[in-house]
């Protein structure tokens, strides 16, 4: 997936008004809580056919942390 498309989809998933960048800190977003975390997990599963263990999210701060867990090979510029 193109990184720009991913950023748009993630923004939609989190229902954020502002555009996201790979440096956006997810924890500082208003919409980020335990339920949006479940949404993100489901979104990653749908988009990349990849199941992320919720416990990984303890180590995720930025969008790029999330992309690393999804796997760099799944993204193109």
């Amino acid at each position: 997936m193109k990184t720009s498309v991913f950023l748009e989809k993630l923004q939609e998933e989190l229902e954020e008004k502002e555009a996201l960048t790979i440096d956006t800190n997810l924890r500082q977003l208003e919409s980020y809580d335990s339920i949006s975390l479940l949404s993100v997990i489901a979104f990653v599963d749908e988009s990349f056919d990849k199941k992320i263990d919720a416990n990984y999210f303890k180590d995720i701060e930025t969008v790029s942390d999330l992309m690393n867990i999804i796997g760099e090979e799944n993204f193109e510029d």
Partner: protein
């Protein structure tokens, strides 16, 4: 005779290959019951059989209970071997924790197919005189989620609430035929479903849920023992009820 005994009773149990269903199978066998066990996973079902009390009469049906076309045939065949059924526990169930915006009509359909419809279909079959003893008892494993709200559980809660409500009406209808119908509502029990859910929601959310149980997380035997009571003659004046077994979860 001990009114809590299941001696000479044939009990049919769904979801017998793991968790609460496996524990119900084992504990019912210790109480003297003969068993018809249903599950999809043959290997795990055989494992349950290997855990039963020695000399237990047990028959297994490996089937997907949501595919109800030939279910009656399969059950009738086992009843012809073991004898008419005195009890039924519907343990098979699926759990999903997902935000409402990720709920699809497919998800509701899948959850209801196992948790509700398959159980009610088997109850229909076992309510027929040709398959049941004069006195029989059905127990549906519901959940406290069918009574109180939990985030991410719209489909699951709805299905478990449907089980409680349906069982109550079934109790009214089947009382004249000598069949009692009750549901039980466990909170979190240490089963593979719970482990999977904890993986999905993460340790922090799991810890939050854990804290809501004054007596801690339950063990499958805690549920199985309640099922035995509801299947036995000790509960002969109980029907249409929902027994809450939740370590204090819903007492808040």
């Amino acid at each position: 005779m001990n009114p809590f005994s299941l001696k000479d009773k044939i009990i049919l149990i769904t979801g017998a290959s793991s968790g609460i269903g496996r524990s119900c199978s084992v504990e019912c066998s210790k109480s003297g019951a003969g068993l018809i066990l249903i599950a999809r996973n043959s290997e795990e079902l055989q494992k349950t059989v290997s855990m039963l009390a020695p000399d237990t009469k047990a028959e297994t049906i490996m089937a997907d209970i949501t595919n109800t076309a030939n279910l009656e045939e399969l059950i009738a065949e086992k009843i012809s071997v073991l004898g008419k059924v005195s009890g039924f526990i519907h343990c098979a169930g699926i759990e999903k924790t997902l935000p409402l915006k990720k709920h699809t009509s497919r998800l509701y359909t899948d959850v209801f197919a196992v948790n509700v419809i398959a159980g009610f279909e088997i109850a229909r079959i076992l309510s027929l005189k040709k398959y049941k003893n004069e006195i029989s008892s059905f127990v549906f494993v519901s959940s406290v989620a069918g009574m109180v709200g939990e985030i991410g559980k719209t489909a699951y809660s709805a299905s478990k609430g449907a089980v409680i409500a349906g069982a109550r009406s079934m109790a009214m209808e089947l009382a004249r035929g000598g069949t009692r119908v009750n549901s039980i509502s466990p909170a979190m029990v240490n089963t593979p479903i719970l482990e999977k859910m904890f993986e999905n929601i993460g340790e922090d959310a799991a810890e939050e849920i854990f804290k809501k149980h004054p007596l801690g997380i339950g063990q499958p035997e805690d549920i199985a023992n309640a099922c035995i009571f509801l299947l036995s003659d000790a509960s002969k004046w109980i029907t249409g009820s929902n027994l809450v077994i939740d370590g204090g979860y819903s007492a808040h």
